[in-house]
C-alpha cells in the first residue's frame, strides 16, 4: 500500500541496516514496520542534528538524528 502522491518534493531514502542500533530502538522501529530496504520519505530534518521526521506506510514518525544516520548505514 502506498500513498500515491502526484509528486513528491521530499527526498526518499532507503534503510540500509539496523544491526548497529541498540536493541530497544531497533525493536520499536521493527514494530512500526521499518526494516532494511524500507523506503523513508524525509519530511524534515532539524538543524544542529536535531530530530528527523520521516514518513513511511502513511505514518509520520520523529526519530533522533543518530538513529537516522545509523539507518542510512553511517556509524
Amino acid at each position: 500500500m502506498q500513498l500515491r502522491y502526484s509528486e513528491s518534493a521530499y527526498p526518499i531514502v532507503t534503510v540500509e541496516q539496523m544491526a548497529t542500533l541498540d536493541g530497544q530502538t531497533a525493536h520499536r522501529l521493527h514494530n512500526l514496520g521499518i526494516h532494511p530496504g524500507s523506503q523513508l520519505t524525509v519530511l524534515r530534518q532539524y538543524p544542529f542534528h536535531g530530530p528527523v521526521i520521516v514518513e513511511f506506510d502513511q505514518q509520520k514518525v520523529g526519530i533522533r538524528y543518530v538513529v537516522f544516520e545509523a539507518l542510512l548505514g553511517g556509524h
Binding site: 500513498l3 502526484s6 530502538t25 520499536r28 521493527h30 514496520g33 530530530p51 509520520k60
Partner: protein, 662 residues
Amino acid sequence: MTTVALLGNPNTGKTTLFNELTDKYAYVGNWEGVTVDKKMGKIRHSEMVVVDLPGIYSLTPITKDEAVACNYLLNDSPDMILNVTNASQLKRNLLLSIELLEFGRPVVLALNMIDDLKANGVTYDFDELAKRLGCQVRATNARKKSGLDQLRQELLATPPETTAPLHLAYPAAVQDAIATATQQLVADYQLTPTFANWLAIQFMNRNQIVRRYASKHQLKPLLTQQDAYDKQDFEEQIFQTRLAFIDETLTATTKYLHEVSNANLTAKIDRIVTHPLLGLPIFVGIFLLMFKLSFDWIGTPLSDVMDAFISGPLSATASHFLTSVGAMPFLKSLIVDGIIAGVGGVLSFIPQIFVLFACISILEDSGYMARAALVTDRLMQLIGLNGKAFIPLIIGFGCNVTGIMAARTIEQPKERLVTTLISPFMSCSARLPIYGLFVAAFFDRNQALIVLSLYFLGIALALFMAKIYQWVFKVKENSVFIIELPKYHMPRPDIIAMGTWEKGKGFIRKAGTVIFGGTVLIWLLSNLGPAGVVTNIDQSFSAMIGRFVLPVFAPIGITSWQTISALMTGILAKEVISSSMIVLFHLSGQTGLIATFSSLFTPLSAYAVLVFILIYAPCFATLATIKAETNSTKWAVYSVVSNTVIAYLVAMIIFQVGSLFI
C-alpha cells in the same frame, strides 16, 4: 460472562472506541501512552465485559505499560479479542493482528479511522481481508460514531469459542521447531495445541514475558532450545514471513478509489508547526494564546463579574442578614470576612482556571502534544531527558500529583525519579488564583505575558535541575526517542467539555474541603492570640508567626507579615495562599485589597513573591505522592528543603538584581 480484550497499536482510537461501546467515559488523549493500566466496562444492554488495555505495537514489550497487555493474554485468557487498527496504517497494525490471530481466540478486527483512509483514495475489500485473516472485519470511525452499532452486534453475535488460529507459512526450520515444541508441550504439560503453538512462536520471537513464563513453569521443550532458536535468528525469520504475508494480503485487498494530492490538512499544519525555526516560537505562542484567553480575553472579564458579585451583593446581603438576625460580630466576621471573602475570592477564579483547562484539553485532543515533544526534543536531549518526559511535565500544569503519576510511563527508574523531582516546578493550576490576584493589582497590561513568564521560568528551572540530577545520579542517556505524529483531528466539543470538567471538578470540590478548612483556620489564627480573642489582628497568632520569620524574607522584598503567614498555609494546598492572603489583608486593612497591596509591594517585589510561590515547597498531596512513588520519605523531605532554598535564591536574585535597574 464473556470478556473481550481490546487491543491495538497506540493512538488508533482504542480508548474512544471503548468509551463509545461501553457508555463509560475514559481519559482520551491524542498521544501515545494515555492508557497506563487496564480499564473495564460493560457493553450496553449486555453482560459482555470489555477490557481496555494499553496500546502496544507488538506482544513483545519494551515498557511497563506494554507488559500489561501481554501478561493479560497469558494469565487472564480473554474469550474474545477486539483488535482496533488504524485503517490508514494497516501494514504495521497487522503485525500485531497476526500475533493476536495466532492466539486462537475469535478476533474481530476493527478498521478504525476509516474516513482518513478513504480520504487518501484507498479502501479495502473487507470480505477478502476477512477470509485471508480468518476473522471478522468491521470498518468504524469511533470519533464520528459510525460503524459502532454493527461492531457491537458483531461482538455480541460472535460465539466465544476457540477458533482455528491463523497459520503462516514460516520457513521450514521455524515450522519444524514450532511443531516439535508444540507436540512436546501438549504431551508433557497438558497445554492446548493452540496455546502451545502460540507460546512457541512468542518464545522464538524473544518475547521476554513469555520467556519468563516458560522459566517459571519449567517448559523444558522451549528452554533447552532457546540458544538454538536465537543462533538461527528465528526472530528475524518470523518477522520477514509476517511482513511478506501482510504485503501479499494488502496487495490483494487494496482498492484504489481516486488519485490524491499530498496537500492534506495535517501536512499543511505540520509544515508550519514543526518548522525547524518557527516550531519553538509557535510552541511558546500557543501557550501565550492560552494565557491571553484565560487572563485577558475570556477568563478575567468573567472572573471580574463573579468577584464583583461575591464581594458586592453577596457579601452585603449576607452581612445585612446576619445583622438583622442578631448575629454577634464574631460570627459575622467569620462568615463575611472569613468564608465569603476567602473561599469566594478563590472561587471567583473559576472562569480563568476552566478556560485554561479547556485549552489544555484541546491541545491533548488535537494531536499537537506529539509535535510539542518533537520540537522540544533537541532541547531536552541537551539536558539528557527524553523528549517524552515532556508529556508528564505538561500534565503537571493541571496538577503536580497527576504529573508525577504520569511519569510512571517512563521505563528507566532513575529517569523517572528525575522527572518526579522536577514535576513540582511545573506551575499547577492551584497557583493560578494567586497569580491572578497579583497581576490584577500590579500589572495593568501584559497580564498574560507575566503569567507566561512564570510558567516558562518553572519549565526552565525544571530543565536546569534535571540536568543537575542527571549528572548527580549518573543517568545514562536513554536514546529511545521514537514519537509518532498522529493525524490532527478536529477537537470534539464533548471530549473537550468532559476533559475540562474532569480537571476542573477537583478545584470546585477543594473549595468545600481544604480551601474552606484553610480559610477558617487562618481566620481563627488571626482572631486569637496568646491572650485569647483579640480585636487587633497585630496581636494575633498569625501576626506573631509571620513577624517572627519576616526578617528572613526581607531580601526578596516581602515587607508584610501577612504574606508570610499566607505562604505558610500554602502547604495545605496552593489555593489556600490566595484565600489566606485575602482574609489577612481584609481583616487588617480598611481600604480595598488592591489599595492595600500597592502600599506593601512594588511591581518588582510582587513579581519576586510570585516567583517564590511558583518554586517553594510543594503542597502536602504532592509530597505524599513523591513519598509513595519513590518509596522513601527522604525524597519528600528533600523536596521541601531544596525547593524552598531554590525558591528563596531565585526570588532574591530577581529582586536584588531588579532593584538595581528599577
